[in-house]
Symmetry: C2
Subunit: 406 residues, 2 copies
């Protein structure tokens, strides 16, 4: 019998009514002849409440990570038991499992553990007995029995890992949107739901600020070749399938466009151009936990280099402190610009087609959007622009590649 | 090194401040040279919130007990991790354990499981490493890894079981009162804290409505001969030691007095007096989940019997339904009285001394309290009285046996 693994995130299980709605959907899937595993997150704001308690108790000191995991894992444990109750009340047979109870074994990197193995025998036994199996997402257990959590996007990692371990026919991720769109529909009214997209395109789009599915889950799915179906828990529509690259995908030049707003640029001018200087700069920045977006280096007058990089606006004040010190150390000038944005197009087909960059630049030029920096990957072209031009840029690029048409 | 096991109930861990206060107390105990294990309950009203969620999801249907346990056990898991954080923040080394993580193995009677074994090796290892070990009370785990809960008084059962398994030097139960009193101090101003009391006396007093420690924990402590120290988490005073009976205890005739209010009496008159009739009546009553307090049977005119029993007022309407049916079936008369109370004196010494009943009856007579029924056990004498006389009766009996004096 085919197995369907369905994951419901925090907003889809935020209260009793939504838990019952998710349970009803799982039962409908079971009645179509599938064996059903549900992976669930903590209810709505539960995690925030627990984190707040930990802060009160710890008075600003960072709590031990092992204990933080022990605490946070209760959030999903509450949801699995309530979900099993809802399933039973709606007439199904159900059983809930924490990660420890079914052996989702991780390493001991508390708060960001990696799954090492899953023992699916218990799940298979319960499925064979006709039960809907409800599994706690986001958590694992070390070989010593300590509770771990998988970090951001962890529940989706659980979804993909369980689907891979069970060789499930379908792996469905339920949220409150219909799937992945060619661009943010709030900005681009003609944006269209994407039916199929490759793991690599998803990864590129996620790195450009599209928060549909966390990269760790996509990477995991790519590694084990698990197709993920992004669906809306509020309706029965087909959503977006995330799959491995196929030949037919290459015919589509651009799959989607993305806009990342609230960026800042840091520019270091007159940097002595000798080997290892960039490494030293970015090592120092990383050590201070500043996350760097794109980096560009160009050679200027007199053999001196210009090194520029973008950061999220929220990181700028931290970046400034570090960069000012570096600049003083190597005797170069630092400059900072705020109110920037980045528009990107992503597509597997880019590798096979020419003229993509040209078409993008022309579209932006026609819309009178000035390009400040350009960065590219094999399947992505990004342009740094003024934040005020963001929406215009996204719309014109989306139109230029005909993304809104079927 | 000596081991002290300290248990903190729901009100003693109700918020961050109280959790920190309990942690500070454990650290003071550790600094006196002891190894410390803490057993903690769910914070304040957490259990009520979880039960309410279960009811919402289950829409009035009784939720599966396995899932109820999976849900409720999260309450203590939250407290153990927060307690470990508080201990660490206050400078101690600490580690928290769920019942599953240290192998508190129970049978599979969900919601009222019984402990079968405790594997204390992990606790001993952590104590030897200088850590305060924080254990979740109230919960266990079956051999299959399902979470169980121990039912009412369950956290105290955990306390005693862990103290027994570790052969702890001290087993301390912290609440918001100073210990066990000779009578309820709210009713009897001269009531005095009892320094030492036997398991059997505690059991008798608890059955007479003194809610200091649940009978299951006392029975467990008696079985394994674990002395329990009842203490107040708000001060450093010595509390009440609950211990095995000693010769010296027998010199004290009466240890304490108790009042059980809000009782009702059911009387069946003209009951045919043939073998098995009482068994049949009380079997039927028990089958309808009505909890019966004391039973008295007397033989009346013409070989007919009178059977009377008391129930909590809250049980009366359920009792009426069953008893009316029984009365119709065996053609006898049923009568019901409300607004009754029962005053009791309890003491191991009673077995060795005469005149105890006489002294009690005289004290009540002098206070013009009419006795409606008398029941006794080896170490208890109880008198059923009008509810309005309750406080007067408790005070005069307390005085008559000189319980208020040192």
């Amino acid at each position: 019998m085919s197995i369907v693994v369905m994951k419901f995130g925090g907003t889809s299980v935020a209260d009793a009514a939504r838990i019952r709605a998710a349970a009803a959907r799982a039962i409908r899937t079971q009645k179509k002849g599938h064996q059903v595993v549900m992976v669930v997150s903590a209810m709505g704001k539960t995690t925030d409440v627990l984190v707040d308690l930990a802060e009160q108790v710890s008075r600003g000191q960072a709590p031990p990570k092992r204990e933080m995991d022990q605490l946070l894992a209760t959030g999903e444990q509450v949801t699995i038991s309530l979900m099993a109750m809802a399933l039973e009340e709606l007439g199904a047979k159900a059983i809930s499992f924490t990660a420890g109870q079914i052996g989702i074994v991780t390493d001991d990197s508390h708060t960001k553990a990696k799954i090492k193995s899953i023992d699916v025998r218990q799940i298979r036994r319960q499925l064979a007995a006709g039960k809907v199996v409800v599994v706690a997402g986001f958590q694992g257990v070390t070989e010593d029995g300590a509770v771990t959590t998988l970090g951001r996007g962890g529940s989706n990692v659980t979804l993909v890992a369980i689907a891979a371990a069970l060789k499930a026919q379908a792996c469905e991720n339920y949220t409150d949107v219909d799937g992945m769109f060619t661009a943010d529909p709030n900005i681009v009214p003609t944006a269209r739901k994407i039916e199929r997209i490759s793991y690599d395109e998803m990864l590129e789009l996620a790195s450009q600020g599209v928060n549909v599915l966390h990269n760790r889950a996509v990477e995991f799915a790519k590694k084990y070749n698990v197709p993920i179906h992004l669906r809306n828990s509020g309706n029965e529509r087909k959503g977006t399938m995330i799959v491995a690259t196929t030949k037919s995908m290459e015919r589509i030049v651009v799959s989607g466009a993305a806009l990342k707003s609230k960026l800042a640029r840091v520019t270091l001018r007159n940097v002595p151009n000798h080997p290892g200087i960039a490494a030293r700069i970015f090592h120092t920045i990383a050590r201070h936990d500043v996350v760097v977006d794109d980096i560009i280096q160009t050679l200027g007058d007199g053999g001196k280099a210009t090194i520029a990089f973008t950061v999220d606006l929220g990181e700028l004040s931290d970046a400034k402190k570090v960069v000012d010190e570096i600049a003083a150390g190597i005797k170069c000038q630092a400059a900072y610009e705020e109110k920037l944005a980045k528009v990107s197009v992503v597509g597997i087909g880019m590798q096979m087609h020419t003229g993509v960059a040209e078409k993008m630049f022309k579209a932006l030029a026609d819309a009178k959007v000035n390009i400040q920096n350009i960065t590219t990957s094999e399947i992505r072209i990004s342009c740094l622009i003024a934040q005020a031009d963001g929406h215009t840029a996204l719309r014109c690029v989306h139109d230029a590649f005909g993304l809104g048409k079927k």
